[in-house]
Subunit: 298 residues, 2 copies
């Protein structure tokens, strides 16, 4: 089967389903590329697409889809609750199989160059593909949004990585990058005290002293009358799911609060769960090649 | 990708590697069929092959390989420590993906009929494919071995399911069936007292009152100076790995003995480990479709 990359392009259209269908068509018709999922949000006015496949095939489909998005979307008329800077707003590449981060970064660069050359679109590289420290964080790059980028792009420190130093008149600019698979892993607490979830979130998240590849915040689950530590695991290979789960459990104990459940939203790589099973059952010398499905994917 | 079946044929040749290579060749050259592993044992004088693929392709390769085994192996000259009844001794089919047990049983029947017709070999069906209660257990069918089958086959209750009611002059008889994937899951105890492993094995194994799909016995790990509960999980979908693991832990506590580790020998379906991770991290409403690799295999 060879190398597999995942790509999660975000397009600034979430209301006109006809337009969305035209934009995602390349992910359906391109050989070697599989559309796993797409969701649209009317309030955000945004479509989030998940596609996997051979890196070359995915790159070709992405370039096609961006071309269609440029035709279909006029950012001057775009409104929506989610921050956005362009018609093809953010395009992260995620190495899944027989690929390392370096190869995903190379793929991000090739895709960025092709899009910039073909459509005259300015491109910023972000996360692992970032060329400057200030461009690693997506929020930082997107600050000012579509309305602000016209000025921002003129500053020397915000010269795009590829393409012209002026925004596309209707499609703005795009942000392309490479990152690890992200796992949305939420842990539910048997209490309605939101402050407890907030306290625990602060213990585990990187920014306030917690695990390096963990983002977290407390949220209310009003319908169930409980609270949740809502977590993004940004690199499960270095910050393991079970480690965060056990830490939340022992922090919750301080308040006499039990962990009543957890949830994984969307997709997760098999390895994140197998790795946790191996921890809990103390399996010695386990190798991912012992998983039948790994062999099937060869 | 469609339906996937696993097949683990056992051939009665483990000393002459040239012969083994000729026997397994069809698993390498047949399209739609992948040889995952094979191991030979000189003492047992036996080769165990693991192959996966499309059911039709695997069936064709198995029929080919049995034909070669009949040419290469003369059971009248066979010696070895492992019980055996024929040149192509045992051939279990295991449903892996998009296949249920009924389909694996049908495949076992088709393969048995084709082999019986083509080579005049008597075939017994066993485990889930068994036509009589007494044929479910492999050891029961094989009792008497090659030397005894000449007499046994003449008894009305041991009339073969396919093929003639007399043994093949050099290849004996074969046993074909369908079963669930088997997981070899061993749990190590922090003691050198073998009787403790034996006691715990008796608690968890089906035959002496334990879990329905568990076989177990105590063994010494002499090199490490500890003992092990050596377990075969015969249907992880109904007797979960974590359940057996936790039971061994709490039984060991009675003797003040810790579980110091475990091991999985050979292959395991992803679901067996994911299922255990979902238990330990209390993940609510998890669906195997959330595993990226499941989607990749579609």
């Amino acid at each position: 089967m060879g190398k597999i990359v995942e790509c999660v392009p975000n397009f600034s259209e979430g209301r006109d389903m006809k337009k969305v269908e035209r934009i995602i068509a390349p992910f359906i018709i391109t050989d070697g590329c599989k559309l796993l999922d797409y969701s649209t949000d009317k309030d955000h006015n945004r479509a989030v697409v998940t596609v996997i496949g051979n890196p070359d095939c995915v790159r070709r489909a992405v370039v096609e889809a961006v071309g269609i998005a440029i035709e279909e979307i006029d950012m001057n008329k775009h409104t929506g609750g989610h921050p956005r800077m362009g018609a093809a707003d953010v395009i992260p590449f995620i190495p899944i199989k027989d690929m390392d981060m370096e190869e995903a970064i190379t793929l991000a660069n090739e895709t960025a160059k092709e899009i910039a050359d073909k459509y005259g679109l300015p491109i910023y590289l972000y996360e692992k593909a970032a060329t400057l420290k200030e461009r690693e964080n997506l929020a930082n790059v997107r600050k000012g949004q579509y309305e602000g980028i016209k000025e921002k792009i003129l500053k020397p420190e915000w010269k795009p990585d590829y393409g012209p130093s002026e925004v596309h008149p209707t499609a703005g600019a795009s942000i392309i990058g490479a990152r690890m698979p992200l796992i949305a892993f939420n842990i539910n607490l048997g209490t309605n005290q939101r402050w407890i979830a907030d306290k625990i979130a602060r213990c585990i998240r990187h920014i306030s002293g917690g695990f390096r590849y963990t983002k977290a915040m407390g949220v209310d689950l009003e319908e169930r009358g409980i609270v949740q530590v809502s977590i993004n695991m940004t690199d499960f290979t270095n910050t393991a799911l079970y480690r965060v789960f056990e830490t939340v459990k022992f922090e919750a104990k301080r308040y006499g609060v039990p962990v009543v459940g957890s949830e994984i939203i969307g997709l997760t790589p098999m390895e994140a769960l197998v790795d946790s099973a191996v921890y809990y059952m103390q399996i010695e010398d386990f190798n991912m090649n012992q998983v039948l499905e790994s062999r099937l994917l060869e």
